[in-house]
Amino acid sequence: MSKGDKILDVKNISMQFNSKGVCVRAVTDVSFPVYEGETIGIVGESGCGKTTLGRCIVRAYEPTAGCVEYTASDGLLLDFLKIDKQTMKKYRKEIQMIFQDPYSSLDPRMTVLDIIKEPILANYPKMPKAEVERRVMDIAAKVGLNTTYLKRYPHAFSGGQRQRIGIARALVLNPRVIVCDEAVSALDVSIQAQVINLLHDLQQEFGLTYLFISHDLSVVEYISDKVGVMYLGKMVEFAPTKKLFEHPMHPYTESLLSAVPVADPTVQMERIPLEGEIPNPANPPSGCYFHTRCRFCTEKCKAEAPAYVELEPEHFVACHRAEELKLRGFSYE
């Protein structure tokens, strides 16, 4: 596990969407630190706000509250969400994003060359053409694209190849942090393995920091150093990967882990069922958001929202009863 200095400090991020007088709290008060060179996995069911969180961190949305403290490459400490346009332009290239769907995230009317080139043209308009071309070729080769095909349009490429184009586009500006939003979810298993290996190699080579958002717990367990679990817009647990998978401390994490299908028919894990459905985020339950589906629910849970605290070193959890519960996780070899 590589660990450098703190590169991002996400503090109390909240994001509300208002539509037709209804206020939906997509993300509520999420905080976690990110160290240079590590991979943070963010998991949760659809609608839990993990994509919104990722978009807030790259400032694709303007969060309603909170800040993202970013230690820039030149050592400056900035609040990424408050800096003005001019400064933003300077530092935005250091935080990039890879999108979920390799089919809709590439413009069908641009050649692959133009797609990968666009970030350079936007950020370094005065760079000589030959230099731009050289950079594109370099990065395309690095992510495993055949450079003779770069004049083609995205439709001529398969899903895995397209995801590589998306990765090349994110990498071409030499970013330090990459937010990967379900970057491998749309791919077939064998291609998924290729892309995960690629992300791993690139991290080794460039010392990248990943924020890896996914609903696939096996992939997250493989790739991440630390994992955060989200439920209904809140971070309910955050810990180093092995700790979280072996000894979860939040009942929601426990149920989530027990539902993971294991690719081995001799292993039959007993599932801990979740009652009911995920509540409407426009009208969240009182107290602990999870109390409506929790099997350990008490009166206190219904009335009072638990604080998000560091119960063990590096292990954060938001549950009143976390200390007394003995929850089940995966057993490691």
């Binding site: 069911e45 659809s46 398969s158 899903g159 895995g160 190849q161 077939d188 298993v189 064998s190 291609i191 998924q192 393995a193 290729q194 995960i196 290996n197 791993h200 609903h215 717990l217 096996s218 992939v219 367990e221 493989y222 998978f245 149920s255 989530l256 027990s258 539902a259 993971v260 299908p261 294991v262 690719a263 081995d264 028919p265 001799t266 292993v267 039959q268 599932r271 069922p273 979740l274 459905e277 995966f330 057993s331 490691y332 070899e333």
Partner: protein, 341 residues
């Protein structure tokens, strides 16, 4: 007891496209026994969905199927479904009643214009009873069975009022309403969250026990296959390359493609190897395929002069384990001496 309910023999599907004829399914053989779940595993484009749709005769007109699909029908006896007129009365008595299908995306499978109850009723009215009141009763009963709470209210709701998981339950209710002998589930849980996925899979298992049906479970997710299936057939480029009982295929995968597929899925709790095993390259387009094994270009066990010349067929290596690979079962000359089992 263990009689065969459906047997597919040498199924080939050709698709006419502008560039020529694309052979999407190139000779598939398998059978499903009563009460059994067969997992058909493969990556996108390997022909698994085409195969399942050929069983129901609902493929596009451009697709031409050859071979035999022998189904043990209640009213027709053993019948080759491919020989029936795809718009005729006979196949209609099978389709939707004796064989039904759960589609991949519940959001797309339902029409947004009709209520859920209305759409579940459709099959009942066609196959079981003409009485609308009775049909409603049957539908409500099945809806309760698949775990839709408040069935009376839900019956009159439209698909957009359902969540993804609930809609998938409704889709299962629609498929089960006529008590089919064979259920084809085409990626039934791919679009769902893990918690909902686990619920739906458990539900399908329970219902299988209640109804005693067979399931053809189509997926690319090896995790769900391990949970659901008795037997697994791995498909690559329109061929079955390996088939075996589920426990056997995870413990002792033989074909390099199967090994690659299983190796490329990380198992939680195992030591983190530095890299995931990955199969090089991508699935080639099934247009003008070269001679020899379809997996030749991506295979790490390929034997030059053998694998790119001869096309391997499934060979039984014992214990119901069949493999189509020269590197595993010996070269073609030796194999010809053995004959096919």
């Amino acid at each position: 007891m263990n009689d065969t309910i459906i047997e597919i023999k040498d199924l080939k599907i050709n698709i006419k496209i502008d560039e020529g004829t694309l052979t999407a399914v190139r000779g598939v053989d398998f059978e499903i026994k009563k009460g059994e779940t067969l997992g058909l595993v493969g990556e996108s484009g390997c022909g698994k969905s085409l195969t399942s749709k050929a069983i129901l005769g609902i493929n596009d007109k451009k697709c031409k199927a050859e071979g035999e699909i022998i189904f043990d029908a209640d009213n027709l006896g053993k019948v080759n479904l491919l020989s029936l007129n795809p718009r005729g009365k006979e196949i209609r008595s099978v389709r939707g009643k004796q064989i039904s299908m759960i589609f991949q995306e519940p959001m797309v499978a339902f029409s947004p214009m009709y209520t859920i109850g209305n759409q579940i009723n459709e099959a009942t009215l066609l196959h079981i009873t003409k009485d609308k009141k009775k049909a409603k009763e049957i539908s409500l009963e099945v809806m309760r069975k698949v775990g839709i709470a408040n069935a009376e209210k839900r019956y009159d709701q439209y698909p957009h009022e359902f969540s993804g998981g609930m809609l998938q339950r409704a889709l299962i209710a629609m498929a089960l309403v006529c008590n089919p002998k064979l259920l084809i589930a085409d990626e039934p849980t791919t679009a769902l969250d893990v918690t909902i996925q686990a619920q739906i899979l458990e539900l399908m298992k329970e219902l299988q026990k209640d109804f005693g049906m067979s399931i053809l479970f189509i997926t690319h997710d090896l995790g769900t296959v391990a949970k659901m299936c008795d037997r697994v057939a791995v498909m690559y480029l329109g061929r079955i390359v390996e088939s075996a009982p589920a426990v056997e295929i995870y413990k002792n995968p033989q074909h390099p493609y199967t090994q690659g597929l299983i190796g490329s899925v990380h198992k939680i709790g195992t030591k983190n190897q530095d890299r995931l095993f990955s199969i090089e390259g991508t699935v080639p387009l099934a247009l003008n395929l070269p001679a020899g094994c379809g997996f030749y270009d991506r295979c790490h066990k390929r034997i030059e002069g053998v694998c790119n010349v001869y096309d391997p067929s499934l060979v039984d290596v014992g214990d119901d384990h069949k493999i189509a690979c020269f590197a595993c079962t010996g070269c073609p000359n030796a194999k010809e001496g053995q004959g096919h089992e």
